[in-house]
Symmetry: C2
Subunit: 210 residues, 2 copies
DNA sequence: CCATGAATTTCGTCC
DNA sequence: GGACGAAGTTCATGG
């Protein structure tokens, strides 16, 4: 294999695995390392197959030239569209930890319900503050403007519910973007930056006590 | 697929490609993107195969659990040890540029030969200085102690060759580490920091002149 | 389409 | 083994 592009690279003759995907991309693998191929061409690119030689080029003029000495095995499958990866890890776990430690959101806070349902979707956490008033909490890994808007919609809806009102909002995230903080503060929403690892430690300690 | 580790992630049921390598590492691929798998476990890790369920764990306690609904194709091959990728881009090109512009190594320098063969390997560049004396040049992208040692060995050998002696050395690199510079200077080897882009410009200009 | 920042970054090197 | 920086970084988001 020879690659001429952002750098020049060469792979000597050896037994390897070639993977050609539906988007035309190609990767060359040795028998180690899961993450990174020895060499590759990212889509969009074009594969020209000639006998014994594959040539892969992209729009930028980068080129991968693969010389095939011997084919030990060749198989092809239709995989169809992939549903894709769901990384719900941090946000879901964060919500879980905060539900277990509502005091991390404010002094005297208690949990009413997780995933409190409204007409426009579930509020992450519904709490009560030290005075007994309701608090809607939106939990995010990265606190962005979108999250503030979302919480604002919940607050507007819940504020009209006589069983809930009066209600205030807390925007809780591992990291809160400056723009989101400004918008939240302007709307009377309090921002709480959550230390994931510390919180996990607190929850673990509390469990250990019993 | 479910991953619990530095984060938590989930892949719904779909047709995918699983790649298991000799080092025990595993990767899950969809039919697009050459570079990055949907999910993976890097070595060192351990794969426990049970009927319909693969469990991959590493030392840190991260876990990949793969549920197999149906196997459409299953194949295995011995690939053997891989010679590995040679990224000869920068160093080879640097040698080429310096061969075309030996004056960048010293006033009055002329090229005798590239890759001058010796019993212990090829010297990158063999030149003559303004007085006509030989100069051995070692070219590196990053000038390290190893490079100085290498050049020293060549100088020792070539200095004993009556057809070559007397000989001096030049250590040329885009960047020279302080320790390497000290060692080189101590051994009477001159260090030259090469500006790759500037040199390329000079060579291009010279070509344009003719 | 370009700039910026995160990433289960990975990967190499220095200390 | 940990810290630091580069990578054909790749990848998503914001403007």
């Amino acid at each position: 294999m020879d690659y001429v592009g952002r750098l020049t690279a060469h792979l000597p003759l050896a037994t390897r695995l070639l993977m050609v995907k539906a988007d035309g991309s190609i990767s060359i693998h040795a028998d180690d390392r899961a993450y990174k191929p020895l060499n590759w061409m990212s889509p969009p690119c074009r594969l020209e197959e000639a006998p014994g030689v594959w040539r892969v080029v992209n729009k930028a003029g980068e080129e991968l030239r693969i010389t095939l000495e011997e084919i030990l095995h060749d198989t092809s499958h239709e995989l169809g569209v992939d549903p894709g990866l769901r990384k719900d890890g941090v946000e879901a776990h964060l919500q879980e930890l905060l539900a277990a430690t509502p005091s991390a959101l404010g002094v005297g806070f208690t949990l009413v319900r997780r995933e409190h349902m409204t007409a426009i979707g579930p509020v992450d956490l519904l709490c009560r503050d030290a005075t007994g008033a309701h608090v809607a909490v939106e939990v995010k890994r990265r606190g962005d403007i979108d999250g503030v808007e979302q919480l604002t919609r919940y607050l507007e809806l819940l504020g009209r519910d006589p069983l809930i009102a009066p209600i205030t909002g807390v925007f809780a995230a591992q990291e809160i973007k400056p723009q989101a903080r400004v918008l939240a503060t302007d709307r009377g929403i309090r921002c709480v930056v959550v230390d994931y690892d510390a919180l996990r430690g607190i929850v673990r300690d509390e469990l250990t006590l019993f």
